[in-house]
Every structure is written in structure tokens, then in C-alpha cells.
Symmetry: C2
């Protein structure tokens, strides 16, 4: 009997629709092989809608999305819309309203993938880590303001809000992930020598939860030092747990060193399943190459693998990541011309159809 | 006639004293050749004093330092002191009280210096940029707090404070530096799609000041994207202007890709000269190697070059940086054993004494 999931699709702006199309193609192919089906509802959200109606995420749409089983998102943001409107009003609104407190961002350097790092760095060991980025607190809460805007007396604030409740749940999730990985190592990244209030809350929480996971080795890095290690010895990382803003920064750098944001997938996960989780590539809408079929859909495709895993289908998920790995290996071998968005999707689709697993 | 400057020396913790000793040796050598002298006052500040007296920076010491012409600082921080006590109570206190609003951090990849970047990235062009990090505002103001500490109801905040006054003066300084450099390019780094209040203040200010510098080309990057470019195409940068926290993060990464924090110098500059400026290596106190004569004093030595430049002696400053460059080139050639802190200082001192300029 086929198990059918209701899938909200928010293709969004720029290259969002192109890469989402390929992700859906591969998702449907692998689903069919596992007696799964996705009943899609497409939501027209993003720059077009904002220009047409002034809306970013109407309450009625949010309510509808809340009833779905999962969300696949392409990309959000367009230069024609003032910076922050769609990010805060749509993307972050979804993450916050749906309580996506675990923003999961795996980084793995696949064999043959070009990296900006020197061979001597790559040779230090396998680069294969996951960043557990807090998704509902920190400097992202939108708790700031400004007075006397546009005058020489302007003052603008941004408030980072951090709660024991919010920090503990994401730290516990990160420990559980570390426990389930072979190396069992967790690194807290913060800046507790400057942001002492938030930082000490994070440090104390990690110390407390560590007692429940005696097999997990724990260390701490300031965020500035963490960027050094990402550039000089990324193999040292296994699971990183960090706040919303530091996680944003570290995961772009992590993507860069593991082949670029064309390959970086992410899940905005609500581990309590009180609302649907959302899966999206780490990359943005890349308006400069939109509509030209130049975007690499691999990150979107890998995001659909994270989606399958979250829904409880790790084998189906592995089928996608294995196909992606095979495709990447094939690319690395051939000094071929760049492929179109569709060609990459088709190639991975063919590998999935071939029953690679 | 010899011009004498009053120099406050805060050697600090860990490797601070070792590297400062070498910086002072080289500074004195080059000073003598330029009819300059430094009358030093050493201030016993840091972990030892805190343990002995509970003081980080007594008002009377601050008042005395305020009367000096410049400050040379080694490093601050020790694991025996709770994280944040010395950083907030001494280092940041000096930066804030002495209005060091320009935190100047040049990055240059010298020929022959090992970098973690692939040759293909290095080949893209000369890596030679400067980060102008705001030093007296942003998330570093220490404007945060916590309630119900240690309970499940704990809430901790960190407030980023940004003023038109504070942003404009550092942005104008950065434009002036860009104007004086051959490439005349300025990149604002922020996160104005999420931190919209602070971010838009920064963006509007850059737009406004740009009108005064029509020859400077301006662009903008989100902080996450900036880390990608630092890893994949650092030659794209000339002058980066950014806030206190983003500057902290970017400059460690910048140091990593240009040979490591053993080489990264910085100036905490008060361009209005209402108080002495302070020069320090970007690296920390590295307690793990303290007292072993393993620390590379190059960053401290280069910081003394920035000090000379700030005091109006660019030729003396260039003499130091040229000597450092020659020393680095010599290191790169010889596959020699690692040198002690003192040996590096002596080698650079010899090059300076040889009248390299
Ligand atoms: C688009 C932006 C709001 C977003 C973020 O900052 O979280 C993006 O950079 C990401 O990492 O998903
Ligand atoms: C030690 C610490 C407070 C300091 C900072 O965050 O500014 C250091 O990292 C630096 O970059 O000078």
C-alpha cells in the first residue's frame, strides 16, 4: 500500500523554481520505488506575490502549510524587494512559526569534488561533519528597532534572545546526533568571552547535558577560532552545535570548503513534530543566474533526501545521497562541459531509477 | 634631536610577554635608526593581577595609560580566569574607554607563506586587503543580561547597539583608506537581510559616505557570503568595513588564509587622537604553549610597525614590515627546524639593523 504524504512546495524566487523542479523529480522517482507518494501543494510565495499583493506569508497560507507533512523550499529573496522583507516575512517566519529549532546542515567533502583547500589540509582526514544550528532564537528573533532613522542621531538595536528552554532542546538534539555518529564528538561554538550572558547559558547547558551523554567527547571553540579550524583542519569536526547567527556564518564557510553551496543541503527540523519540517538548499536565490538553467540542483536534491530521512525513510534517503555521490564521482572523472540544471537532475534521476542503493 | 614617545606596555597573559619582548626589541632597534625613542611603562594587568587583587583595570591605571602616546599589548586571557572577565574587564575596556573605533586588521599573503588554500585559489590574484572593524559598538557593547540564571526559566540577552555617529565615523575612515589604496574598493559586510535595523543603518551610511568618495567602488556582502569569498577568492577584497562581531570573525579567517594568526597584526586606532591607540597581535594568549618560547612573535612585531605608522613614521614602519617580509621569505626557502620566539625576533632584528628598508 502506498503511503502518501502531503508536501508543501515553496519554490520561491530566482533559481528556486528550477532547482525545486529537479528535487521533486528525483523525490518522486525514489518515492515510487518505496511505495511512497507525495501529494504536492504549491504555494506562490516570494517576490512575485509581494509585488502583486504586498503579502509575504498570509495567515491563511501559514495555517494551510501547518497542516502539511513537510515543506520543500527552493530559495527566497530578490533584489527588487527591500533586503529583509522576504527573509524576515517569509523564510524566517516559517522557521519561527513552525518551531524549526534544529537547523541541520551536514557538510561532507565527497571524493573528487573540487575544494578551495590545499591538499595538505584535505589530507588531514575525512571532512564529514554536521552543524546543528539553533533556529528559533538568538540574534534572529527580530527583536530590535531604531529611533531617529535617517538622522545623525539614529540608534539601531538588535537583541539576541536566548532561553534555557531553547538552548537546552537544541543542545540535547545535537548530543543525540553526536551519540549516533561513529566519532561521538560535539563542539560548542559561541563567543562566551564577549557575549557572556548568552555564551555562558550555552556553555552551562552543554556541560549539563553532557552528563547524560558520557560517551560523547565535548569541546568548545570561540566562533572566530572555529573559522580558522574550518579552513585549516575541518576534519577535526564531527557535530557542531551553535547559535542561529554563528550557525549561519559557519555553514556557508563549511559549504565553501566542501565543494560550494551548490551541494549544501539543509533541514529546518521540528523534532517534536508539532508542525511540518522544512527542507531547503543552503544557497540563496542567485538572481544573477536565474532562469538560465545554470544552477546546480544537487543541494535541493540532497535536501529532499533529508526530508525522506525525517519522515522515517532512511533507505529512500540513502538512495538519493548514494545517487548524488555517484553523480559527483562521475563529474569528477569527466572533464565535461558544465551541465544544465535539468541535466544534473536527470543524471541523478537515472542513477536513482537504476536502483543504486 | 631624538623624539621620545611614552609607550604603555601591557604584555598580559600566556605568550603575551614573550612576543612583546621581541616586538620591543625590534621597535627599539628601528627607533634608534630614526631618532626616535620609546620611554616604556609596563603595566601589570591580566590574570596574575586579577588573581592577586581581583582587579582587571583599575581607574587609576586607566587614567595613567590615557596619558601615554601609544599602547603595545601582548595578549589577554587565561583558563584560570572565568571566560569574559579579562576580555570584558581589560581588553574591551581599553578599546571602549580609549575610543578605539577603528580596529585595523591588514591581511596579506606574503610569497612563500604556507596557506591552507589551494594553489588555484591563490592564483586568482594578490591577497592583500584590510579589514576595518568597528571597535566601540555593535554586539560588543556589553549591553545584555540574564534573569533566572541556572534555572529552566533562564533568559539571556545580548544587545547590539549601533549609532549613526559610530557607524559613520568608521565608514568614513574605511573610505579614506580605500581611497589611498591602489584598487580603491570597499566592501561592506553585514547581515542586513536579517539584522535589518543595524544592517540598514550600515547600508544607508555607506551609500551616503560613498557620495564623498566617487573614485571608490563599493559593494556589499552578507557576512555568510563573505566567508565563502575569503575561502574561494580572497583576492576580490581590498578594504572591508564591518561591525565589531563580524570583524572579529572575518579577521580570524583572514589570518588563517594568509599564513595563520602568528602573522596577523592589528591596531586599535583612535583616529581623532583623543586617547592613545593600542597595537596588538590578533592571536590570543595561547596558554598551551606559553613560556616555551614556541610562539611566533611576528604578529606582535608587525603590530609595532602599525604603531610607528600611526605615530607618523611610515618609513620606520616600512622598515619593520620589509624586514619581516625578508625573514618570511628566508623561512620559506629553508626547510629549517622551527625557531624559538627569540630566534625569530633576533632574525628580524638583524634584518632591521642591516638597514633593510
Ligand atoms: C536568507 C537568509 C535569511 C538565511 C539565513 O540567514 O538564515 C540564509 O542565509 C540561510 O543560511 O538559510
Ligand atoms: C579576546 C577577544 C575579546 C578579542 C575580540 O573578540 O575582539 C579577540 O578575539 C580579538 O579579535 O581581538
Amino acid at each position: 500500500m502506498t503511503q502518501t504524504y502531503n508536501l508543501a512546495v515553496v519554490a520561491g524566487d530566482g533559481i528556486g523554481p528550477e532547482v525545486t523542479e529537479q528535487a521533486l523529480r528525483v523525490l518522486d522517482q525514489v518515492a515510487a520505488q518505496h511505495d511512497l507518494a507525495f501529494a504536492r501543494t504549491e504555494y506562490d510565495l516570494g517576490a512575485r506575490r509581494w509585488h502583486a499583493t504586498g503579502e509575504t506569508l498570509p495567515q491563511s497560507v501559514l495555517d494551510e502549510i501547518r497542516g502539511q507533512d513537510a515543506i520543500l523550499l527552493g530559495a527566497v529573496g530578490d533584489p527588487s524587494v527591500p533586503s529583509g522583507v522576504l527573509e524576515r516575512g517569509l523564510l524566517l517566519k516559517l522557521r519561527f512559526e513552525l518551531d524549526h529549532y534544529v537547523n541541520l546542515r551536514p557538510s561532507k567533502l565527497y571524493p573528487g569534488v573540487p575544494t578551495p583547500l590545499a591538499q595538505s589540509v584535505v589530507d588531514k582526514g575525512d571532512i564529514d561533519f554536521v552543524v546543528v544550528r539553533e533556529g528559533t532564537e538568538g540574534p534572529y528573533v527580530g527583536n530590535g528597532g531604531a529611533i531617529r532613522v535617517g538622522t545623525p542621531q539614529e540608534v539601531a538595536t538588535e537583541v539576541s534572545l536566548n532561553t534555557a528552554f531553547g538552548v537546552e532542546r537544541v543542545v540535547r538534539d545535537a548530543f543525540a546526533r553526536a551519540q549516533a555518529r561513529p566519532r561521538r564528538k560535539l563542539t560548542l561554538v559561541h563567543k562566551n568571552n564577549v557575549l557572556v550572558h548568552a555564551g555562558h547559558l550555552w556553555s552551562r547547558t552543554v556541560d549539563a547535558v553532557a552528563a547524560e551523554f558520557p560517551e560523547v567527547a565535548v569541546d568548545y571553540l570561540h566562533v572566530d577560532a572555529a573559522t580558522i579550524f574550518l579552513a585549516t583542519d575541518p576534519a577535526r569536526f564531527d557535530v557542531i552545535v551553535t547559535d542561529n547567527l554563528f550557525g549561519d556564518i559557519l555553514t556557508d564557510l563549511a559549504a565553501a570548503i566542501t565543494g560550494g553551496i551548490g551541494l549544501a543541503a539543509s533541514g529546518n527540523v521540528n523534532p517534536d513534530r508539532t508542525a511540518p519540517s522544512m527542507f531547503e538548499p543552503v544557497h540563496g536565490s542567485a538572481p544573477d543566474i536565474a532562469g538560465q538553467s545554470k544552477a546546480d540542483p544537487t543541494a535541493a536534491i540532497l535536501s529532499s533526501a533529508l526530508l525522506l530521512d525525517h519522515l522515517g525513510h532512511p533507505e529512500a534517503a540513502a538512495q538519493i545521497s548514494t545517487a548524488v555521490e555517484a553523480d559527483i564521482a562521475a563529474r569528477a572523472g569527466a572533464a565535461s562541459a558544465p551541465r544544465s540544471t535539468q541535466e544534473v537532475g536527470e543524471a541523478i534521476g537515472t542513477l536513482v531509477a537504476g536502483g543504486v542503493s
